[in-house]
Symmetry: C2
Subunit: 430 residues, 2 copies
Amino acid sequence: LESGTFKQVRRMLNGLQPAEIAHLIESSPPPSRRVLWRLVDNEGEVLQELSDEVQAQFLRRMDAAEVAEVTEGLDTDDVADILQQLPDRVIREVLAAMSARDRLRVESVLSYDEETAGGMMNTDTITVRPRLTLDVVLRYLRRHDEIPASTDNLIVVNRKDQFVGLLPLSKLLTSPPTITVREIMVTDIDPIDADLADNEVANLFERNDWVSAPVVDKDGKLLGRITIDDVVDVIREDADHSLMSLAGLDEEEDTFAPVSLATPRRAIWLGINLITAIVAAAVIGTFQETIEKVVALAVLMPIVASMGGVAGNQTLTVVIRGIALGQIGRNNIGWLLSREFWISVINGLLMALAMGIMVALWLNDMNIALIIGAAMIINLLVAALAGTLIPITLKSLSIDPALAGGVVLTTVTDVVGFFAFLGLATYFYS
Amino acid sequence: LESGTFKQVRRMLNGLQPAEIAHLIESSPPPSRRVLWRLVDNEGEVLQELSDEVQAQFLRRMDAAEVAEVTEGLDTDDVADILQQLPDRVIREVLAAMSARDRLRVESVLSYDEETAGGMMNTDTITVRPRLTLDVVLRYLRRHDEIPASTDNLIVVNRKDQFVGLLPLSKLLTSPPTITVREIMVTDIDPIDADLADNEVANLFERNDWVSAPVVDKDGKLLGRITIDDVVDVIREDADHSLMSLAGLDEEEDTFAPVSLATPRRAIWLGINLITAIVAAAVIGTFQETIEKVVALAVLMPIVASMGGVAGNQTLTVVIRGIALGQIGRNNIGWLLSREFWISVINGLLMALAMGIMVALWLNDMNIALIIGAAMIINLLVAALAGTLIPITLKSLSIDPALAGGVVLTTVTDVVGFFAFLGLATYFYS
């Protein structure tokens, strides 16, 4: 690169929003990433917009002092998120390199799990007392240089710093300046408990259309607030989780992860699937004699297994999403199971008929036509039951249904598909 | 139900947030849904929180006057969303039953596609002129009874109602009352064009951490504004799209859709997969003679096809998500393809070795061990290339890669898997 072009690229790059720069970095293969990263001026802002996995790639090359320098001035929750990518020893070093005030704030967020309200919160709250008049509040605000982003409410606290209510800016602006905070504050909103799981926090925000919400500890003491931009990240990751897990991938998987990172992860998944495929092959193995007699069975058997897999996967996907959205519970499993049963009865008959007719015409053999039709109906029924019950059972065992569900389901539909088809054929031809 | 209990349930239900009632309705099978719906007082608010498919189920039982009554007082964009579920004739009837002011507003939103900024926008903007002093603005606001939800900026417009800039409430509150709007307004933010696609709008909100943003027409005239709560819905639906499409389902699929709705939709998908399974079976059919000679081939062949399917699905999922996030473009396909190639070379060798050793020990047949190892490497390589190129090609043909990608990929990995394994065996044993 010539020095002139280089400067121009640097200027263009730093003219973008930090999130746009982060998107550009995440859309680049690793070699270009390192070049882009060296051109970035505002490293902290860009770093916090990157996904965990890409963050970790850059952090690995920085020492504690650099991390402390780069993260200065970021929101407390973002600093905590970044630090959580580092080994404990380095976290301590980074904290030691911070100013005392920043350190205290970051430590308060770090003491909570990353996937709880405490780990998502920010400490940049503006608080007021209930007995103040709005006029005093307005003058107090004017003494601030700026108000933190996404502030739609001031938080009303008592002398012990406990949450009392919210003073929406919209009410502050539309009410007469002489009345007190107590008279117009909103008290019918429950603050968020610091231990609440992040997806529950997201549900609360979605259902109440919140822009920000206060976070309290067990004694009702105000700890910080959560803003909608961090909630949006949780929603995006949660929604990605099922998609990625069904393929044995992590929802934070970096699209451009290097070969050295991606290969071993995928090998584990392939290894698990090799074992289940061998189980299905072993089922076929027990029917070798029948296949030797009627080789057409070997030609048709993958159709039965594959149709069961596709039907089961439809049910599985609907149920896994229903579980993720919190729609499925003990009181509606029965209805769901019976619906899936009837769908598979109807579609099973339909597909069995279509396949049966084709086989009868193709091979001119009514026996195999009847056998494949019956096996298909059996496998579609089992697929519907398995697609419903496997994720629900895994969930109740606290195993991630999206990660384990697909493997278990395919094993069931393969084994049942081969067993039903070859078993019926063996019975018929022996 | 006794009348007393009935009243109690009704009171409890209506004590919930509209979004919570909507979630309860969506988590119930159709018969309970109808009972719950009859108990709801605040029908419009609940209706707009329901997903399109469930909305449509209730709307089908209402006449135009009822729809007009129920939607009165809702946000313009929510009314438009609800109306879009209805046939054109009914929409005209509902519009005729509205007040002239509401009708004009809803018509302005309805004139845009539901999946554009125009279809997402709300008309409840508060506008100010640049020459006003903040003091005048504050007095103007105090004449309002309330400020619309998620208002973080007032919108500054000129005499022709064209967008000039934003006046953040935070700046209004921290600046001296004597200065003018012009002096502190933010002008470096581009308003959103009404024709922009909804997922692009979501990207803008995510990258800039916006709470609300103004929408303008081609001449820069202010039409309305979009708020973060509607953007969150778009993000959720977009993220669900890939998951559901890969199973041949719609992202708005109702978890408790009745048998009559769910069965025909799934039948189409099963029918498509039946055809691709028959294609794969036809490939096996051409090798019947070889299978007759060595029946162990029939036992092992599903393993080769299945491993190719799993490996290809991992690549496909990563690429489909990368496309959905806008990370994959012409300039990085090459890098991605070569990474997937090397991953599949390494994992292909690993799995081929594992499988080869097992087959050699199990069947005590080195020939089949070598054949299955070679077929597996070939299929994993093809799976990696297909998993990368299929979604990218579909995308460039404007076909949804998430919907069509899985079917095409499985067909490729099945056909190649059977062909490579049985073809090599035929060559070897003939």
